[in-house]
Symmetry: C2
Amino acid sequence: MIASGIKRGTAELAVLSVLESGALHGYEIARRIERQTKGSLRFTLAALYPMLYRMEKHRWIRGEWETSPIGRRRRCYRLTHAGKKKLAPLRREWSELFAALRRLEGVSNA
Amino acid sequence: MIASGIKRGTAELAVLSVLESGALHGYEIARRIERQTKGSLRFTLAALYPMLYRMEKHRWIRGEWETSPIGRRRRCYRLTHAGKKKLAPLRREWSELFAALRRLEGVSNA
DNA sequence: CGATTATATATAATATTCCTATACATAAGG
DNA sequence: CCTTATGTATAGGAATATTATATATAATCG
């Protein structure tokens, strides 16, 4: 797993990315991030929930309570229009960071 | 410039990277990072100095007071053996983070 | 000749974002 | 019955960046 100090700031991008393909609830968001990154990126739920609340406050996502097939209540989040618009510049900024670190020879060019 | 939330955690890698090619003092480290990344990555000196003290405490760098040609006192830092050994795994971890974000389609594959 | 910019280091107060620990509640499997 | 999985939620703390401030000197510009 990638150390906490290094992955700092990635949660926002990760959440927006996994929500792009459809609505998910918090617990499932955590699993998707872990699975899709093959375990490299992993967030505790204690980190994820406050992040989701912040993002909802910013109007990038919107949560709705629903009931699962077995009767569990859970909060399902979907990207808002503002959230979709936020993704592109966020990705650009991350790409720029990677380019900057490559220029410092901080990471490989592969 | 890349926003603070995103670049969080890069300072350590950036400092080690610019020190790899030779000893530098704090003020110059800040300039090198900014110049080499074409302004993408920029740290305030108030962030850099405590970072240098931490890294010296960890024995990754060692500082020595010297006097510049015009008589200014400044603290010159160079990588220690431990600091050089730290760079490789740190770079691997950052590469792994980039790969993880690409798998989430959070950034371009370019 | 005075003001600003550049050089150089240092600390205090604050913000953000992650962590561990804890709490609650239910279902499924061994 | 006990553990693991499913779900959401908050408290307390750690790490790393920010702005603001302080000190001190040299160079440059109007």
